[in-house]
């Protein structure tokens, strides 16, 4: 079952392997390590085989291997559909194809697989930082195609050829990108991996393991139309948590009808560019006035909830008010929901709440008394608190007295509810880093925050941030300044120097531009573009025209290139001789069609005997170059061309 011999030349095989390896590297952190290792291992093995000319496994072995690999993928991913499983399968099958690569066609299949891996990478991630990688991979694949077609090409030549073709293609590609009409919606949906990345989840367990704060990825960027509010006022509202089991806060399964709000003050208008989170939450400044998109609902607790998880960057315009007042009393259902507290756990906290409430006259006074308790009780802010026991709130309030926003929000809301004041936990982000280059706020996962909302009669839902009394500096300074030791050394280093900060801000601004103008370039962006080009009523038909115009312009460019070629491909020697004839015709007789070079020379000399030395030499040189044994010799031709150009004839 072994096929002998390896008739393929090495270079094309090596290029095909390189293209495939490039494709694997693009997915290195996305596919299971065993798959990537298998693929890279097979590539190495195949190249070694090609060098030594040893056997390849036979058909049955290959079929078994293929089935086995598909089986393993099926077991690991529970599907063969979907981006991650599909990519892994493609990668493994391409690696198997290596084992039966005997013809140029098989190598072409490998390069095709490399192109598909590139496509999968584009579908998977679209960050600016990855764009150069994608470009390099495309370049490598094209160069591999060139070597498959002409195995003798050197590495340099193949890369140059591919670069040249891609450069020529770039303007047309850009025009197509701008003008090719996009379709709203999609034909079919690909199941994506539902691995939640960082970001806010729909539950919160103070005292559990927390990793949120050390993640320095951008969650979203926000640009205000007018002057932005001060940083401590930037409470970005995310999931609102109602249900508490004594340890974990969760979103409500069934939300009670909410209270209509009366918006006060000036509206804040801003644009949010949200990075993918794989979760359905959109974020808005407290409190959003309406939903920014049809697929997003504004829930009764004023959270923006999308019908689909955010799998790709989205951008939206939102309007928020920083001050609101309840337009109606709290409904009985909602009151019951936001007062619910398990009767078992946290007995001391409940006793404390009742004691404080009894001392305070009103709900509002009780709310500030509870805050005072946190402010004066010797509580400290840390990202690395001790773990809490079963009575998490009691543990925090009376034993550990340390924690971060989640701990304090949880404890505060528990106190409120225990004393009969409706309250809920709101998670989201606080603040953001001002980017002076892009003029927007970068809100990072590290800015995640949790606070409380308390129902006060006459005022409605009131935001109270217990963390603000424990660690007031949290409101004005980012987490990085507050808790540098919680970050990895690399991040600290990056944010240490001022010039590095500027550099990072520039980079983030470039990323923001990329996200907004390239990744999100869609039908509406096309219409914007048309409007900017001066079309009054932009619609899809103009896109077609733009597309056609761009194509025609490019074809004209090609035709021009061809015309230049046909002018220049006519032999340089003949052109130089014709030029000589034109020069001579100005001082003597014109060449007759039947006259050869020497005959014409004689007829000119009959009129201008003074030119004998020059003309005879030139004519003889031409005759030699044209008809002699060294005809067309490039150096001679070049010399002749120079001599003719330098020739000056006095009338």
């Amino acid at each position: 079952m072994a096929a002998r011999g390896d008739p393929l030349p090495f270079a094309p095989l090596a290029w095909a392997c390189a293209a495939l390896a490039g494709g694997v590297l693009l997915h290195l952190d996305r596919v299971p390590p065993w798959a990537a290792l298998t693929c890279l291992g097979l590539i190495t093995w195949r190249l070694t085989l090609a060098r030594r000319g040893r056997w390849l496994p036979g058909g049955i072995a290959r079929a078994l291997l293929a089935l086995g690999m598909a089986g393993v993928v099926l077991v690991r991913f529970h599907t063969l559909n979907g981006l991650a499983a599909g990519t892994t399968l493609l990668l493994l099958m391409a690696a198997l194809k290596l084992l039966e690569t005997r013809q140029v066609r098989d190598e072409a299949v490998l390069v095709g697989a490399a192109f598909f891996l590139l496509l999968a990478a584009c579908l998977d991630r679209q960050q600016l930082a990855r764009a150069p990688l994608y470009l390099a991979q495309g370049w490598l694949c094209c160069a591999a195609l060139a070597v498959l077609a002409a195995p003798a090409l050197s590495v340099r030549r193949a890369l140059l050829l591919a670069a040249r073709a891609l450069l020529f293609a770039a303007p047309l590609a850009l025009a197509m990108f701008l003008f090719f009409p996009r379709m709203p919606g999609s034909f079919w949906a690909i199941p994506r991996g539902n691995v939640a990345r960082t970001g806010l989840s729909d539950s919160m367990t103070p005292g559990g393991i927390q990793q949120l704060a050390v993640d320095y990825d951008v969650a979203f960027r926000a640009r205000f139309d007018a002057a932005p509010p001060p940083v401590p006022a930037l409470y970005w509202r995310g999931p609102v948590l109602h249900d508490f089991d004594g340890r974990t806060w969760r979103r409500a399964d069934a939300l009670r009808p909410g209270v209509p709000l009366v918006f006060l003050g000036t509206p804040q208008r801003y644009r949010v560019a949200l990075e993918p989170t794989q979760r359905p939450y959109w974020f808005a400044l407290d409190t959003p006035a309406h939903s920014p998109a049809a697929s997003v609902t504004l829930t009764a607790d004023y959270q923006l909830l999308s019908s689909e998880p955010v799998t790709e960057p989205v951008a939206y315009e939102a309007v928020s008010y920083l001050q609101t007042r309840a337009g109606a009393p709290l409904g009985a259902g909602a009151r019951r929901q936001d007062l619910a507290l398990p009767s078992g756990p946290n007995p001391r906290a409940r006793a404390l709440a009742q004691e404080l409430r009894a001392r305070a006259g009103t709900d509002a006074a009780f709310a500030s008394a509870a805050l005072d308790y946190l402010r004066r009780g010797g509580f400290s802010y840390t990202l690395d608190p001790q773990p809490l026991g079963a009575d998490a709130v009691d543990d925090l309030l009376f034993r550990t007295r340390e924690g971060f926003c989640g701990h304090y929000a949880s404890a505060y809301v528990t106190l409120m509810r225990a004393a009969g004041v409706p309250a809920r936990v709101v998670t989201g982000y606080l603040g953001g880093e001002w980017n002076p280059i892009g003029r927007y706020f970068e809100v990072r996962q590290a800015d995640a925050h949790a606070w409380a909302e308390v129902w006060l009669e006459g005022r409605g839902w009131t935001r109270i941030d217990p963390t603000a009394v424990v660690a007031p500096e949290r409101l004005t300074r980012g987490m990085m300044q507050l808790m540098p030791q919680a970050y990895p050394a690399s991040e600290r280093l990056l944010h240490g120097a001022a010039w590095l900060t500027v550099l990072l801000q520039r980079w983030d601004a470039a990323n923001a531009w990329w996200s907004e103008h390239v990744v999100k370039f869609d039908y509406s962006s096309q219409l914007d573009l048309l409007a900017r080009l001066g079309f009054r009523t932009p619609d899809a038909s103009y896109l077609g025209w733009g597309f056609t115009a761009a194509l025609l312009a490019w074809l004209a460019f090609i035709a021009l290139g061809n015309a230049r070629l046909s002018r220049s491909h006519g032999d340089a020697l003949a052109r130089a001789y014709l030029r000589l004839c034109r020069k001579l015709a100005r001082v003597g007789p014109a060449r007759l069609p039947h006259q050869g070079p020497l005959a014409y020379c004689e007829s000119v000399l009959a009129v201008r005997p003074d030119l004998r030395a020059t003309l005879e030499a030139l004519s003889q040189r031409y005759a030699q170059l044209r008809y002699g044994p060294a005809a067309g010799e490039p150096r001679g031709v070049a010399e002749f061309v120079r001599a003719v150009r330098a020739l000056r004839l006095a009338a």
Binding site: R105, A108, G112, F115, F116, L118, L119, C122, L123, Q126, A131, Y134, G138, C142, L145, A146, L148, A149, A150, A152, L161, A165, L166, F168, A169, A170, P171, L172, A173, L174, M176, F177, F180, R182, M183, S186, F187, W188, I190, E312, V518, V519, K520, F521, D522, W554, I558, G561, N562, L565, S566, S568, H569, G570, D571, A572, G632, E633, P634, V637
Partner: protein, 338 residues
């Protein structure tokens, strides 16, 4: 031609499409011939005569780009779309570059040296490039390209196409395809070159009959010719004492030095290979026997002459003479005089 020319060994059923395809190919060939007309060498390959189509790999590449486009449109994924557009534009650029690689190439010469029947012959195609180098130019006959060469700037290259010689005679050269898939192999541009040239196929040197003896009487032909007629032998420089009547005055008038025509008496010390003397054999067998004798006589450095029913090659020796005799055999019965 066999009745089942398309049935490959090991394949039991004739392909029903093959006949149709062959007819289509023949019609296309006729159309191309009508369209381009006959070529006079050297041929500069200009735009009107170049054809271009995607190769199999090119079609696959197109399908790949289409899938990318669909994926990009479906997920409104800008990067996938840009990739699809970049590769589509790349395809167009490659098409133009491929066309350009063939445009302006000159076919300087097409010739097929004479061969013996049954020998593997070759067609020599000489390609030349002007100012720009032309890598990977292919040449071939009807089938896939048989030879490939790089032609440097202002250079030339000779490509040898195998052209088997099956039957004795004078054969018109087949049309020749000059093609290129450079760069990237996604497209192949090609043209057909039709020249009115022929190739001689000598009869295969076969047969066991002993050659006629040098002194053998020359039979009826000898009687028919006048005894006084001497045989042309060649030219030699003039020496004092030579008769002025023997000087080649025509050559002198063309500017050559004084030369003297030498004759030798007919029938002296040489062999006549006579078609008629091989009477009992069939025509082709006789020609093959004559070829055998000619080849052997030339190898033995003998002087020999050839006598065919309507042609006679007087006795001489040397490669040129051998070619002349063999050519006469090749042309025998084709209605042409040597």
């Amino acid at each position: 031609m066999a009745a089942w020319p398309t049935v490959a060994p090991g394949r039991l059923r004739p392909r029903p499409l093959a006949a149709l395809r062959a007819r289509l190919a023949a019609r296309t060939a006729a159309w191309v011939r009508r369209r381009q007309g006959e070529d006079a060498l050297p041929v500069d390959l200009e735009r009107r005569r170049l054809y271009i189509l995607p190769t199999r790999g090119g079609v696959a590449f197109g399908a790949l780009v289409f899938v990318m486009l669909m994926a990009g449109l479906n997920y409104t994924n800008a990067l996938a779309l840009f990739l699809a557009f970049l590769l589509a534009a790349f395809g167009l650029v490659v098409m133009q570059q491929c066309h350009r690689n063939l445009l302006g190439v000159s076919v300087l010469d097409l010739e097929a040296p004479p061969v013996f029947a049954g020998e593997p012959g070759a067609l020599r195609v000489t390609l030349g490039a002007a100012a720009e180098a032309r890598p990977r130019l292919e040449a071939g006959l009807e089938g896939p390209p048989a030879a490939c060469a790089d032609v440097g700037a202002a250079g030339r290259a000779v490509l040898l196409l195998p052209l088997a010689a099956c039957a004795r005679g004078v054969h018109a050269l087949p049309r020749v395809r000059i093609a290129t898939a450079f760069p990237f192999g996604l497209f192949r541009a090609w043209t057909w070159v039709h020249v009115r040239r022929e190739r001689l196929v000598y009869p295969a040197p076969r047969g066991r009959r002993p050659p006629p003896a040098a002194a053998a009487p020359l039979g009826g032909v000898r009687a028919a010719s006048t005894a006084a007629l001497d045989e042309w032998r060649g030219l030699r420089p003039f020496r004092h004492g030579d008769s002025p009547r023997q000087v080649d005055w025509k050559a002198y008038a063309r500017g050559a030095p004084l030369l003297v025509k030498e004759y030798q008496p007919l029938g002296s010390e040489r062999t006549w290979f006579d078609f008629a003397a091989l009477a009992p054999l069939g025509e082709e067998l006789r020609l093959e026997q004559l070829a055998r004798w000619i080849v052997d006589a030339e190898a033995a450095a003998a002087t020999y002459g050839l006598r065919l029913p309507r042609t006679e090659v007087p006795g001489a020796r040397g490669p040129a003479h051998r070619e002349r005799c063999l050519a006469a055999l090749a042309r025998f019965g084709t209605g042409e005089r040597p």
